[in-house]
């Protein structure tokens, strides 16, 4: 085995040094009836065979590079500078463990600190953690934080929040005494303020909105935080970090917690993961934040030092009284996002957001001109919007497949009322000719 240095010669020497005559002597404590293991696992392949085989298996996937894709819905196709992979490919980053030994992990710790700083900056909040598993689990943890903080039992969530996130939220709360209640949206996709208000009660710990929401609409949230805060409840916002280059921040909306999927920040879509859950909050809630935090302090010589901090929140110190059970997070994805954001910088973050708006509004306009398709032109969007077709999408599918186009995500599986409606996404990766081709193919369907 080319990963294992132990040779047969070594084995004999080592057994001798250990003081047993056979390897089996080391396993005496294992009940013998357990020892008769038969595993049906294929025999080893050489690396060349692996390279060939996995290329072959990979060829059975269609990709965003060989198709023209308009898929969003929580995972986005964005430009990633080549420098990102050179940074995350540094072995000292990707083969290190959690930076518990601060002196031997200043690299990782400083990068986490920078990541936290940029996420706090994007969200306009005071603190961000070192990452959570993904957008959905961040959202569930935010709900738990609100429930604990307010000592209440109910979470309100907009139906326009990503359906998968709402499912995860329900899973997380299923075994607890807490409940979830949803409020609806208007035809254009923005949340229905009356329905929201109606459900607001003094048992509500917090309310969750997403903006831009799953239907592509940017929510107008004026007054929402006041309404909630007056009731003693928290405002939780799910965001798209790329959009925050230009859109109003959770901080500006008066949110207490912001969560979101960090994948758009330089992480390839890779069929759903690994991604990185973003989690930011106010200084007031800092000591309830789940997961790791890096901070700045001084070392014994008074020199600046980075270290994990407020560990009293965490499971390895507090065990059953911890703020969360999280241990391993998505550190390398956070580093990826950190490298991406640093490369984009202040101007780049604004510009990429602007480009998303440009592409999405352009495409929406063009589709609006087509017969047989409907879009709501008056809803503010970022890079996604709903397209309703007069015919079932299934009928259009073969044409689109032939043109190697993934047109979008069908919404009726999540919202039965949204028949023949696709969620269509266009990011900065799309050129005029690609968008025009899509429109052309649609017009010929």
């Amino acid at each position: 085995m080319h990963y294992h240095p132990m040779t047969d010669q070594n084995r004999d020497d080592m057994l001798k040094k250990i003081g047993v005559s056979a390897f089996g002597d080391l396993l005496k404590g294992i009940p013998s009836k357990l020892r008769d293991v038969k595993m049906n696992i294929p025999e080893a392949l050489s690396e060349w065979e692996l390279q060939s085989r996995f290329k072959e298996i990979g060829a059975r996937n269609a990709t965003l590079r060989d198709h023209l894709a308009f898929l969003g819905g929580g995972s986005y196709e964005h430009f990633i500078p080549a420098a990102v992979a050179e940074i995350t490919g540094r072995q000292e980053f990707y083969t290190a463990y959690t930076p518990y030994q601060a002196e031997a992990s200043q690299g990782t710790l400083q990068a986490i600190f920078e990541f936290q700083s940029m996420i706090a900056e994007l969200t306009g909040l005071d603190v961000a953690n070192a990452s959570h598993y993904d957008g959905a689990t961040s959202l569930a943890e935010a709900a738990l934080l609100a429930l604990r903080q307010t000592d209440r039992h109910k979470i309100l969530v907009a139906r326009s929040v990503h359906p998968h996130y709402r499912q995860v939220l329900k899973t997380y709360l299923a075994a607890t005494p807490f409940s979830v209640e949803e409020f609806g949206f208007d035809p254009g996709g923005v949340f229905n303020p009356d329905d929201f208000k109606k459900r607001l009660s003094d048992d509500v710990a917090g309310a969750i909105f997403q903006t831009p929401n799953f239907l592509g609409a940017v929510e107008e949230l004026e007054g929402v935080s006041d309404q909630l805060h007056q009731m003693g409840a928290l405002l939780i916002l799910a965001i798209n970090p790329i959009a925050l280059g230009v859109l109003k921040t959770p901080g500006e909306w008066g949110a207490d917690i912001a969560v979101g999927e960090g994948q758009p920040l330089g992480i390839p879509p890779q069929c759903g993961g690994p991604y990185v859950g973003l989690f930011a909050t106010t200084r007031a809630l800092m000591r309830r934040i789940p997961g790791r935090l890096a901070g700045i302090t001084q070392d014994a010589d008074g020199k600046r030092a980075y270290c994990l901090t407020l560990q009293a929140r965490e499971q390895h110190i507090r065990r059953e009284r911890a703020a969360s059970n999280i241990c391993t997070n998505q550190a390398l994805c956070a580093l990826t996002a950190c490298a991406y954001m640093t490369l984009m910088g202040k101007e780049g973050m604004r510009e990429v957001a602007e480009l998303n708006l440009d592409r999405a509004y352009y495409l929406r306009e063009k589709i609006a001109e087509l017969e047989g398709f409907h879009v709501a032109l008056d809803v503010p969007i970022f890079n996604e919007f709903m397209v309703q077709s007069e015919r079932p999408w299934d009928q259009l599918e073969p044409h689109l497949a032939k043109a190697k186009i993934f047109p979008g995500i069908p919404l009726s599986a999540y919202y039965p009322e949204l028949k023949n409606t696709l969620l269509v996404c266009a990011t900065e990766t799309k050129t005029r000719s690609e968008l025009d081709r899509f429109v052309e193919v649609l017009s010929q369907c």
């Binding site: 085995m1 990963y3 294992h4 084995r11 080592m14 040094k17 250990i18 005496k28 009940p31 357990l34 080893a44 692996l50 996995f54 990979g58 996937n61 590079r65 995972s75 940074i87 000292e92 990707y94 083969t95 290190a96 002196e103 992990s105 200043q106 990782t108 600190f113 936290q116 700083s117 706090a120 598993y133 959905a136 998968h164 899973t171 997380y172 940017v218 280059g245 109003k248 500006e252 879509p269 890779q270 069929c271 759903g272 690994p274 901070g295 302090t297 070392d299 407020l310 499971q315 911890a322 059970n325 999280i326 391993t328 997070n329 998505q330 390398l332 780049g348 973050m349 602007e354 708006l357």
Partner: protein, 499 residues
């Protein structure tokens, strides 16, 4: 000077007007897209982001990386973490465009390659553990535990046994075990260890009753010891109607040697970022697939990959499922790496993993126990725990020895854990380290033991060779500086000017 002394943040290196990336110039709309956004929806706060060129950014991060210890540069015998070599072919495969550039909302027909891998990985994990079905969704060990505990709850609820509110965890257990049980609303009951470091069967018996929901057990446990009475334990727990949860963090000891399924466990999580060699990434991402016995299959998270003929399909599971535990299919990129690892090693390679891991641990234990006592001096599995109790009189703790090891070019073992061992050093060499490295490590211990005699201050003030000395953690927690704004002061001229 090879390691940069510069400890400035990217923000502090920033200069107005610099950029690190160029974006397309082409605009498709006649008007500026920003004008389409209603002013009330626009960000007002300027973005305090660093402004650096690509060369500056690259140098910044490359130099940061050089301040880390890592498997590829150092021996990293962190107990309970299986810091084994992360094979490069795993990275190569996972990064192929055909896998990396697929969207989770694509139709199954367009993802047959990825689905095949996930399906086959599940089959392998079933074989390795003796379980009947796996979910691949959980993103890490603790996430797997959470998934498991939610299933425990759903299972008992489905049988009308809501009164089972207690989860038993040994006092040697990992912090995530009690934390997870609590997260799901369970009451945590700690079970004592016996003098040989195993579960105290008498204590366990006392806590076995009709309010017991589950026992969470790590085997080999965090002392690196196999629970010899495992069959009695599982019988006992099942006898009282509770379930058995296996924390598979230490599965690196047991590949092909024995299986949690055969021991009687109902639910198992694996840490693919430990046993199956996927990189730790400075703290993640990992993957924590959860396997169950048949009776728990209905409760698994939704979404399961099935093979129909030559076609792979994502099947959404039924009524009793606890639902989704993550947004999409899980940490697919990590799952791919683990599968490549299994195919690289094959059946006999997997067996060799555990055999060599156990050999290395016992070999190193023999060497080190001449220097410091082993917590339980018996043959160990893949790791073992020293106790440095006797140094306490000198004011030296196990953490101090860990720090001094850094100066010798070795990452510290896990320190002060498990909690049942006073002044613990938990050492897991893994199978990918050579006996020469173990010998060098033992030499360093020997020298440190001598230093403790001759110059204890050297140990107490260690490390001496790294970019920083020990950080003041109390200060960090008392006055938390968690962002650049905290550091610069919200309204300091510095942040103002960068705005």
């Amino acid at each position: 000077m090879l390691i940069s002394k510069d400890d400035r943040l990217s923000f502090e290196k920033s200069k107005p007007g610099r950029r690190g990336a160029r974006l397309p110039k082409q605009r498709l709309l006649e008007s500026n897209a920003l004008d389409l956004v209603p002013p009330s929806l626009k960000r007002k706060q300027p973005l305090l982001f660093p402004e650096l060129t690509e060369p500056e950014v690259v140098r910044h991060f490359v130099n940061l990386s050089k301040k880390n210890f890592s498997i590829d540069t150092h021996f990293y015998p962190l107990g309970s973490c299986s810091m084994k070599y992360n094979p490069k072919i795993n990275e190569w495969v996972a990064k192929l465009e055909q896998f990396a550039w697929t969207h989770p909302m694509q139709k199954d027909e367009t993802l047959q390659g990825t689905l095949e891998i996930l399906y086959e990985l599940e089959q392998c994990l079933k074989e390795v553990t003796g379980m009947d079905r796996f979910t691949l969704q959980p993103a890490a060990g603790a996430h797997g535990e959470l998934t498991g505990m939610m299933m425990v709850h759903a299972y008992h609820a489905s049988r009308g046994e809501q009164k089972r509110r207690k989860v038993l965890v040994p006092d040697s257990s990992h912090g995530t075990n009690p934390a997870t049980a609590a997260l799901v609303g369970y009451e945590v009951v700690e079970i004592k260890s016996n003098p040989r470091g195993r579960v105290d069967l008498e204590d366990l018996k006392r806590h076995c009753h009709d309010e017991t929901a589950c026992l969470m057990l790590t085997n080999p446990n965090t002392l690196g010891l196999f629970e010899e009475q495992i069959l009695e334990i599982t019988k006992l727990i099942h006898g009282c109607g509770a379930l058995l949860y296996y924390d598979g963090a230490n599965m690196n000891a047991l590949l092909g040697i024995c299986r949690p399924g055969d021991m009687g466990f109902d639910i198992v999580h694996l840490n693919l970022h430990k046993t199956f060699s996927t990189p730790h990434g400075g703290g993640g991402p990992g993957a924590g697939p959860v396997g169950v016995k048949a009776k728990l299959i209905p409760f698994l998270p939704s979404m399961h990959i099935e093979k129909k003929g030559n076609h792979y399909e994502v099947v959404r599971d039924g009524q009793k499922s606890i639902g989704r535990v993550s947004a999409f299919l899980g940490n697919v990129g990590i799952l791919i790496r683990a599968y490549v690892y299994i195919r690289t090693l094959g059946l006999s390679g997997l067996k060799q993993v555990s055999e060599d891991a156990i050999m290395n641990a016992n070999y190193l234990k023999e060497k080190l126990k001449r220097i410091f006592p082993v917590a339980v001096d018996e043959p160990c599995m893949h790791e073992f725990v020293l106790t440095l109790q006797k140094l306490k009189t000198k004011g030296i703790h196990s953490g101090d020895v860990g720090k001094r090891l850094l100066d010798y070019g070795f990452h510290a073992p896990t320190v002060h854990f498990p909690l049942v061992v006073d002044e613990a050093l938990m050492i897991e060499p893994t199978e990918t380290e050579s006996h020469e490295t173990l010998d060098q490590f033992a030499d360093a211990f020997r020298k440190i033991a001598q230093e403790i005699e001759e110059d204890p201050d050297l140990i107490l003030k260690a490390p001496h060779t790294l970019p920083i000395r020990r950080p003041d953690e109390v200060r960090a927690a008392r006055n938390p500086i968690l962002t650049y704004r905290d550091l610069a002061g919200k309204d300091s001229p510095e942040t103002a000017s960068v705005r």
